[in-house]
Amino acid sequence: MLLVTALALILLFVFTGFMARFYHQDERSLARQWSAKADAAMQSGDTKAAIEDYRTALIYSRGNGETSGANETYELHLAQALAASNHSDEARAYFLTLAEREPGNATVNLELARLAARSGDVTEASRYYNAAIFGVWDRDPAAQRRAARIEYSKFLLEHGEAAEAQAQLISLAAALPNASRDDAALHVQAGQLLMESGATANALEEFQRALQLDPSSVDAARGVALANQLLGGSHTGSPQ
């Protein structure tokens, strides 16, 4: 009887193993199908359908051998779709769950910052913006970090936090690339924001740097002229 029991256990193990394998394969496949459908819906602007499809994808992705990254991608996309369709509370709940699992995820922190900004919570938004700026980005971290800082600076300026905005913009300016003509636009943007924050001298430097990179930049020249005017200085710059 012992032998029969042991054999039965082994057979049941093997059978269950096959059953579980097919089950996980099915579920993974369903998760990917629904996720693809949701992505298509998002691209076509149908966020309601996208939300439902992402939810469905999430159900099938759980514990089904998907990598944790894939699971979190579905959850992130769902949260982003919810945020895009103004389901802020629910989006926030999902983002918080993701943040708990990956506190350094810059994308999640940025989304949380945006939700906080939407609700007017400056303290919480600042916290999450900073977490995003210093967090881990999956692609092109320099550019993403830069974009996050710019967004944060704009937010601070909108809420009258000029001093903090200046600090962010000065850090931003110091890290801007100076390699090619294409980088001039970034310096112009930084300069414009610095002007807005009241750091005119710093803004002038950025406009001048932009002109050096791209002497034909009209915006840079205009910026230099305006900054000089505000500073009462004699520095000029004109497109060649």
Binding site: M1, L2, V4, T5, A8, L9, L12, F13, F15, T16, G17, M19, A20, Y23, D26, E27, L30, Q33, W34, E52, R55, T56, I59, Y60, R62, G63, N64, G65, E75, H87, D89, E90, A93, Y94, L96, T97, E100
Partner: protein
């Protein structure tokens, strides 16, 4: 014959296997049987040790069965209702009804014992049928519940998993020829294994079986139950992953005043528990009483009603775990959550009362989650600065309904902790659960499992009554010692004089207690004292003459049952303080105990 041959309680069979008579001629055994017997003698393990090893095997088998069961439910659901979160209208309308008909046919024709959730059936196996659960019931439960739940009946898979685990354990116990006592005990071991794998929560499963099925914490059973539960969860997590049933959002107590909100949830949970229990208690016997061919069409009718409701509220179909997840993330407004909770009560009442096999655990969690999220959502509007996330309320709500409806307060606390993995939620859980439990206790005389078993004509012991019942203690029966107490160091003559001068002449005593300096107590009768004197031992110390005689000592807090067992031929026994054995608190006799039982309110 016991598992390894030595078994003192045999002569009776468990199940249908015939018992060999002692006088039967020796049966020619195969070489294999002889080898096994030889191995047995060499190993010579105690049955208790083997019972524990068997518990592990039961856990493995139950875990595998539950894994297959959960997969079967999911495949049935996807196959019948489609893979979309909200199934299409034709499927929702037709599938539960048609599947209900199929389930009814299977149950009536092939598997008549699979009706019900499985908890009452497991208890009846333990207390009435010596742990016997036919394996056919396990197969039938698997097939019928997978079909019922997968097709959208508002039932859960946990209770059936409990019964399947118990059935597997019963089969193993019978085939391995355990003693009758062990076979009776083995069903709860399997039950814990099945439930642990279904919930992915070993502690909650163990506590539930102890709280609701067996009602005892004895070391032997507890060890086996824990081993089985752990084994089954290991298997379940191996194949299905260790992800919790829900993705619970982060929880923290925003403000201590928030505990008042959880108390409100407890009150709401208590009321809803009562509503659910009353609905079931009312509906089930009435549907069962319809008779005729109703057994065939009732599950289909329930499926049709659920299907129609499912067109607008698809969340009421099936176990509902996915929707609980959404409620925890604040998807629904509080008004809709109330609607969901009430709709689920109606749907589950119909499904269960129609005779469709399946469990009530998942629907209870669903109702609790919706109610909790509703209370949390409403609190957010009223007191936004002192209310935590809605998900926390949903989580606590699940435990609250568990405590109020199923009347298993300990299980509900552990379940919430295991499911959430967050200890900081324990305070709200305890507060809310306790309030719901007390409300349910006050207004619903019997727990729902007791009600269901009575409706089936079974008189099973109520674990709650055993827990809540006041055991009679020695202090309830004892009386002051009015007779003189003798000292072992006194001489016999002095003792006689002491008894004469200190005894109440109106109620003379013939038996006296003798106190030794060491805290030992003995007893001596008056004729014996006089005999000692007649033998010329009047000046000898009483203690020297009594030898090693030792009267059992009692303490006031001990059960009266113990006093009765120790009484034997003694007219009464001393009751002494636990802090000082020399201090006599009183005496107790057999008639004192019996009078106390007669006085005890029923």
């Amino acid at each position: 014959m016991g598992f390894l041959g030595s078994d003192s309680s045999q002569g009776e069979s468990t199940g249908s296997e015939p018992t060999p008579s002692a006088a039967a001629p020796a049966v020619r055994r195969s070489r294999f049987d002889a080898a096994i017997d030889s191995l047995r003698q060499k190993i010579a393990l105690e049955e208790t040790t083997l019972f524990l090893l068997l518990a592990v095997a039961i856990g493995l088998f139950s875990g595998l069965a539950v894994v297959c069961f959960r997969i079967a439910i999911e495949w049935t659901r996807v196959g019948l209702l489609g893979s979309a979160l909200y199934p299409s209208v034709p499927r929702v309308f037709l599938v539960p009804a048609i599947a209900g008909l199929a389930v009814a046919f299977l149950v009536i024709k092939f598997f008549p014992r699979v009706r019900g959730s499985g908890v009452t059936q497991t208890k009846s196996a333990v207390y009435i049928y010596d742990g016997f659960i036919p394996f056919q019931t396990v197969i039938g439960k698997f097939i019928c519940c997978a079909l019922a739940i997968g097709s959208g009946q508002s039932l859960g898979p946990e209770d059936p998993s409990l019964q399947m685990g118990a059935g597997i354990a019963s089969l193993l116990g019978r085939k391995l020829k355990l003693s009758r006592e062990k076979v009776r005990l083995i069903a709860p071991v399997g039950a814990a294994a099945g439930l642990a794998a279904a919930f992915n929560s070993p502690i909650a499963a163990v506590v539930f079986v102890i709280e609701e099925v067996i009602g005892t914490w004895s070391a032997g059973v507890l060890g086996a139950i824990v081993l089985a539960a752990v084994s089954s969860v290991v298997v379940s997590r191996w194949f299905l992953g260790s992800e919790p049933l829900f993705r619970t959002p982060a929880y923290s107590l925003v403000n201590p005043i928030e505990l008042v909100s959880y108390a409100v949830l407890g009150i709401a949970g208590g009321i809803v528990s009562l509503l659910f229990a009353k609905a079931l208690s009312f509906t089930r016997p009435r549907l069962r009483a319809i008779g005729g061919s109703s057994q065939y069409w009732l599950p289909a009718a329930a499926g049709l009603v659920i299907g129609v409701a499912g067109i607008w509220i698809p969340q009421v179909m099936g176990a509902g775990y996915n929707y609980m997840d959404q409620a925890m993330h604040g998807q629904f407004v509080w008004q809709f959550l109330i609607v969901l909770a009430l709709a689920k009560i109606i749907a589950t009442t119909l499904s269960f009362s129609s005779g469709a096999p399946g469990g009530m655990f998942a629907p209870t969690l669903f109702i609790g989650a919706m109610l909790g999220a509703a209370v949390g959502g409403a609190e957010h509007i009223l007191t936004p600065n002192s209310t935590g996330p809605v998900g926390a309320y949903a989580l606590v709500g699940m435990g609250t309904l568990f405590a109020g409806f199923l009347r298993v307060p300990l299980t509900s606390v552990f379940m919430v902790l295991e499911v959430s993995g967050n200890y900081s939620i324990i305070l709200p859980v305890i507060i809310s659960n306790a309030i719901a439990y007390l409300i349910s206790l006050r207004f619903q005389e019997k727990p729902i499992f007791d009600v269901l078993s009575r409706q089936e004509g079974l008189d099973l012991p109520s674990m709650e009554e055993l827990r809540e019942g006041q055991a009679l203690r020695v202090e309830d029966a004892m009386r002051p010692a009015t007779m003189p107490i003798l000292s072992s160091v006194d001489s016999v003559a002095a003792a006689i004089e002491h008894t004469r001068s200190n005894q109440d002449p109106n109620s003379p005593e013939e038996f006296f207690l003798v106190r030794f300096p060491t805290g030992r107590w003995a007893g001596v009768r008056e004729p014996a004292l006089h005999k000692f004197v007649a033998d010329g031992q009047g000046s000898v110390a009483l203690g020297d003459l009594l030898g090693g005689q030792r009267l059992p000592r009692l303490h006031p807090d001990q059960p009266a049952d113990l006093a009765m067992r120790l009484m034997r031929d003694w007219p009464y026994l001393p009751v002494v303080s636990r802090a000082d054995a020399l201090r006599l608190e009183g005496i107790v006799s057999l008639s004192d105990i019996l009078n106390a039982y007669l006085r005890k309110p029923n």
